[in-house]
């Protein structure tokens, strides 16, 4: 079993829809949870990070962490074609440099 599980998709939605992405994990020691957006042939771009449990909102993006269920989510409201990318979740412990990544979910937003 992988430490971080993420459905690779692909996920295709119409413009304006809400995109819902999620990851599950097995290591209860993870404290920092990140979402990266990666366009084709580019490096991962940090979208948001969350410490421990709770919600965080930034514009059209909302990240949620439920440590009791070992489940994290990213929601994209009013999705745009420019949101078409692969979304990687990543997580780490407080005292660790090493990120554990999900496999990435490929999202296409249709105009």
């Amino acid at each position: 079993q992988k430490e971080v599980e993420q459905d690779p998709g692909p996920l295709s939605v119409p413009e304006g829809a809400i995109v819902s992405l999620n990851c599950t994990y097995s290591n209860s020691a993870f404290q920092y949870f990140m979402w990266y957006r990666q366009y084709s042939r580019k490096g991962p771009e940090l979208l948001m990070y969350t410490y421990s449990s709770g919600n965080k909102e930034d514009g059209r993006f909302t990240a949620q962490v439920d440590k009791s269920s070992k489940y994290i989510s990213l929601f994209i409201r009013d999705s745009q074609p420019s949101d078409s990318a692969t979304y990687l979740c990543a997580m780490t412990r407080s005292n660790d440099y090493k990120l554990s990544f999900g496999a990435g979910t490929t999202v296409t937003v249709r105009a």
């Binding site: 690779p8 920092y32 990140m34 990266y36 042939r41 580019k42 490096g43 991962p44 771009e45 940090l46 990070y49 410490y51 990687l88 990543a90 780490t92 407080s94 005292n95 660790d96 440099y97 090493k98 990120l99 990544f101 999900g102 496999a103 990435g104």
Partner: protein, 116 residues
């Protein structure tokens, strides 16, 4: 804007011919990382520097080496590239390796390496 810059964006080399990829950062971060990412896979950590201290991952082949001459620059050297080394190479930085938010990593745009 503070950022992580990788050069070149695309590199073509011949089988067995040494190649060097470069990374610079204006974030003034203590830690610099090198990752290898193959198509449709998550990035795989090769090694990292905390200041001048080099930390190799256990499964990183000896073919991969790194240098960090100063805080801003880090290089990835592939001594004898094989066909299996064709991939995207990503540089990342973080302020620290632990602590509140200190280990959040910021990536460069990557260098896509082709081996002929």
């Amino acid at each position: 804007d503070a950022m992580v810059i990788q050069n070149p964006r695309y590199q073509v080399t011949q089988f067995g011919k040494p190649v060097t990829l470069s990374c610079s950062q204006t974030l003034n971060h203590n830690v610099m990382y090198w990752y290898q990412q193959k198509s449709s896979q998550a990035p795989k950590l090769l090694f990292h520097y905390y200041d001048k201290d080099f930390n190799n991952e256990a499964d990183t082949p000896d073919n991969f080496q790194s240098r960090r001459p100063n805080t801003s620059f880090c290089f990835l050297d592939i001594r004898s590239p094989g066909l299996g080394d064709a991939a995207m190479y990503l540089c990342a930085t973080s302020r620290e390796t632990s602590g509140r938010g200190g280990n959040i990593q910021y990536f460069g745009a990557g260098t896509r390496l082709s081996v002929l």
